[in-house]
Amino acid sequence: MSIKSDDVEEGEKSVQSGKSEERMIPTFCSLCGPSMGCGINCYVKDGRLVRVEGMKESPVNNGKLCLKAFASMQWLYSPQRLKYPLKRVGKKGEGKFERVTWDEALDIIADKLNEQKEKYGPESLAILSPQARTYKPYFIRFLTAHGSPNYCHSGICAIQRAFGFAYTVGVPMLGMAGADYERAELIVIWGANPVYAGAPTGNLKRILDAKARGAKLVAIKPQMQPDAAKADMWLPIKPGTDGALVLAILNVIINEHIYDAEFVSQWCYGFDKLVPHIQKYTPEWAEPITGLPADRIIEFARLYGKAKSACILAGNAFDQTVDSNNAVRAVGILIAITGNLDRPGGNIVPTESTMPMPKPVTLFERYTQDMIDKLVGPEMPRCFQPFIEGASSAYYKCLNSVLTGEPYPVKTIMAPGTQPTVITRDSKRVIEALEKLEFFVVIDVTQNSSMPWADVVIPVATMYETDHPFETSMMGTGNWLMARNKIIEPLGDYKSDYEFWLALGVKMGYGEDFWHGNIEECMNYQLENFGITIDELRSHPTGIVYEPKPIVYEKYAEIFATPSTRLSKAPYLPQGKVAIYNTTFEENGFNPLPEWVEPPESPTNTPELLEKYPLVFFDTHTSEAYNHGWLRNVPYMREIQPEPWIHIHPDTARQRGINDGDWVIVESPHGWIKVKALYFPGIRPDTIMSLHGWWQGCNELGLPGYPLLDGGANVNILYSSDPDKAFDPVVTAMPKQTLVEVRKAGNNG
C-alpha cells in the first residue's frame, strides 16, 4: 500500500524507565473481546506510554495481564498506525489514497449514505461485525436509526453456540460463562482454549486450582494444546466431528441409564422421543467419524455421566461447523439430562450482582417485522430474529449479495475493526465482491488487509488515546464499573470509534438519536441506572466494584421461562422445560431432534477425495500471540510465532520427506497456501492444523507479508463455500474443515 507517511512516527523505541519521572494512569485494556478488558496500569513519561502492569483492583484480572497487553506499546506506536483519514485515489484494490480531514471523510460517507438511502432504501447499508467490542452497540444503533437491519455477524464466534443453548435450555451463555469450577468433580474443555483466550481473566486459574484440589480434567480437541497437556484424559477428536461425539455419548448415557431420571421427568420435554432417535448413534458408529475408539467414547460417557458434578467449557469448535446447531443442542441436552444444569459443580446460570445494568445503546425497541423481512441474508432464519445481538445478517451472505444481487445487492459495506479478506471464507469471492461493491468504508487503528479496496478509511483511537467509554464486566468474572482514562493524546487526526458513530449520526441528520454528538451526554445517559455521571465515576480512578450476590442454584422455573429476543418475546422454551424435542424448530421446518451433519469434505463424507487429499485440515481461532488478523506487525508478538505454520505429526511429515521447519504447500480442493511445517507430536497423524489471519509482515523483524489468495497463508481460501453444503441451515455457521495434501515447497515455492 502506498500511503504518504511523512508524519508517521518512528516505530518502537527502546524504553528506559527512569522511575522518578513516570506517571501512572489506570485504564482498561481492549485488545481483545468480548467481555470487559483487564484493568491495566499505564506508566507515562514525557507524554509517551513506556510501561504497563496489571491492575490489582480489577476483579476481572486481579493484577494479571497477558502478553498482548505487554506488547501493546509496540502496537500503539507501530509504523502501521493510521494517522489521518484517507480517500481512495487509485483503482479498487490498488491501495492508493490521499489524506482528507476527519470532517471531509464524514461528509463523503454521509453524502453517499443519504444518496443511497434515497435511491435503494436504507437496507442497502450493511455493517460487518468486529470481534465483540463495546463500540458495536453504537453502530447497531446507527443502522437502526438509518433504517437498515443489516448488522452482519461473522458467524465465527459465540453467537452460534448462544443460539443452540438458548433454544435448548433457555440460557444463551451456557457453556461459555457459567461453569462452576470451584465445586466441579470433572471439568471438560471441549473445543475451547482457556489459555489463548482470556488467560488473565480467571477461568484458567480456576481450572488449575480445581485440578490442584483433585478435580479431573478432560480435553476434547484435535491437538494437545497447553490445556490438554494438563488434562487427565485427552480425546484427540477429528476436527468438525464434535456433534457426532455428543450424540454417541448421549447414546451411552441413555442406554446405560446413567442420567438423572428425576430431573428428566420433571424438567425435560421430549426425552421419550430422543430415546429411539439416539439408537443409531452408537459409539461404534461414531468411531470412524470422530477418529476416537468406541471404548474411549464409552469410557468418557461413563466418566461424565457418573461424575457427581461436571461442567463443560464449550468453545469455538462448535461455532465453525455445518453441524453447529445440532452439536450445541446436543451438548445442552447432555448437560441437562445428567443433572449438571444449574447445580453445584455443573454448568450454572450466573447469579446477578448488586450492580445495575447500563441503559442500552442499541435501539432494539424500534425493530419491526418489516425491518426483519429486509435482512439481506438472515444469520438465523427470520422466524428466530432478532437474536441477542439484534437483527443480523450473515457476514458472508452479505458480501455474496453484492455479486448475486439476491435478494438485493448491498451498496455500502462498512467494516469497523474487521477484515473480510481474512476473516470469512472464500477470500477470492470476497475480493470480487469488494471490487464490485459501490462504496466500502474501513475503520481501524492500523492498516489492514481489506484497506486496499476501501473508498474511505477512517482511523480511530486505540484504548490509550481516549477517555471513554466506561465499561462493566459482564461475564460473571467480577462486578466492576470503570471509566476509561486517557493515557496519551491521539497521535494523529482521529477520534474514538464511539465518537465516529456519534459524529456520523449527526452528519446524517440523526442528531436526536446521537446525543447531538456529545459523548459525555451519551455516557451519562447510559449511566442513569447507576445514579452517577461519568465525571463522578472518574473520581474512582480504578472503578467501582459491586458486591456479588450469593450463588443460587436450580433456578429452573425462572430459567426455562426466559423470554426470547424475538419480537413476540415468546419464551425460548414453549413448554417451560428443556427442549430435548424442539417444537419451535419443528414448527419452522427444522429437525426437532439433534442429528449429525458431515462437514462438506471429510474422510467419511467424501472418501473419494482421500486419494488426492488424504489429510484433514482445520485452523484454530486463537493463538498465544495474535488476535485474528491483527498484531503480526508487533515485533514482541511476531518473535513468538514468526512464520505462518501448520502443526503436523512428525510421522506424517517424514512420510512426505518434510523436515521440521520446512516450507510446505498445503493444497485443498479449493486452493493452496504456503506455510512452515512445525513438527507437533501431539496432533492426530491424519490431521493438519493451522491458524487464521495471516497476511501481515513485520518490518522490524524483516518478515514479509503474504498474498491473500493462492500461494499466501490465508486459510480461508482452502474451505468450501458451496451454498448447499457449507452453511448450517439454522445458524449459518461455516465449516473450517477440509481435506488437503501437504508437500515440500520447491526452492521457488
Partner: protein, 176 residues
C-alpha cells in the same frame, strides 16, 4: 550472604502462555531477538499417549554460577547481599565464554555483543515483571526461604544441578 533470591516454578501450572517472556521484554525494553526469559517445551511418549511439559527459563542466579567462574573480565558478579547474579556490560568483552559455560543456555547477546540476562529486575527497583504477571501463578518470586514456605504441602524441592540453581520446583523439570 543474607538471603538468596530465587523463583518458585510450578510446572503443573505453567501453560506456555508466554506472558512472562513478553512482560520481561516489554518492561525492560529488550531489543529484537534477545530473550531474558523464554518458555520452552518438552514432548514425551508416542501419539496418542504423549506428554507435553513446559519450563519458563531465565537466569537461575545459581549458587555456583558457571558463567561468573569463567568470566575473565570480571563482568559477571554474584552479589553477596542477595545472591543475584549481575552483569556489568561495560566490562564485558563479548567473548561468550559464559554462554558456553552455562548449562541452561541463558546468556543473551544483542547488537552491542555484550552479555545480557535477567537481573531479577533489580535495576528497576520493582518485583520481577514475569512473576507479577503470571496468570496461572506458576512463576513466583521471593527469597528461597519464602518460596519454600509458599510451597508448603507440595513436594517442592530445590532444582538439582552442579551450579545449584536458585529455583524451587514442583514436579520434574527438563531444561535441555
Amino acid at each position: 550472604m543474607s538471603e538468596q533470591y530465587g523463583f518458585y516454578y510450578d510446572a503443573s501450572r505453567c501453560i506456555q502462555c508466554h506472558t512472562c517472556e513478553v512482560a520481561c521484554k516489554s518492561t525492560r525494553g529488550l531489543e529484537q531477538g534477545v530473550k531474558w526469559r523464554r518458555v520452552i517445551e518438552t514432548w514425551g511418549g508416542e501419539y496418542p499417549n504423549v506428554t507435553r511439559t513446559f519450563f519458563s527459563l531465565a537466569c537461575m542466579h545459581c549458587g555456583k554460577p558457571a558463567c561468573a567462574a569463567v568470566c575473565l573480565t570480571g563482568a559477571i558478579i554474584k552479589r553477596v547481599e542477595d545472591g543475584i547474579v549481575v552483569v556489568d556490560r561495560d566490562k564485558c568483552n563479548g567473548c561468550q565464554d559464559c554462554f558456553a559455560a552455562c548449562p541452561y543456555g541463558v546468556p543473551q547477546f544483542g547488537a552491542d555483543g555484550t552479555m545480557q540476562k535477567c537481573d531479577f529486575c533489580v535495576e528497576t527497583g520493582r518485583e520481577p515483571a514475569c512473576a507479577l504477571s503470571c496468570p496461572s501463578e506458576a512463576l513466583n518470586f521471593g527469597t528461597l526461604n519464602e518460596l519454600m514456605k509458599m510451597t508448603a504441602g507440595k513436594s517442592a524441592k530445590r532444582m538439582e544441578g552442579t551450579t545449584e540453581p536458585s529455583i524451587i520446583t514442583v514436579g520434574s523439570i527438563k531444561v535441555m
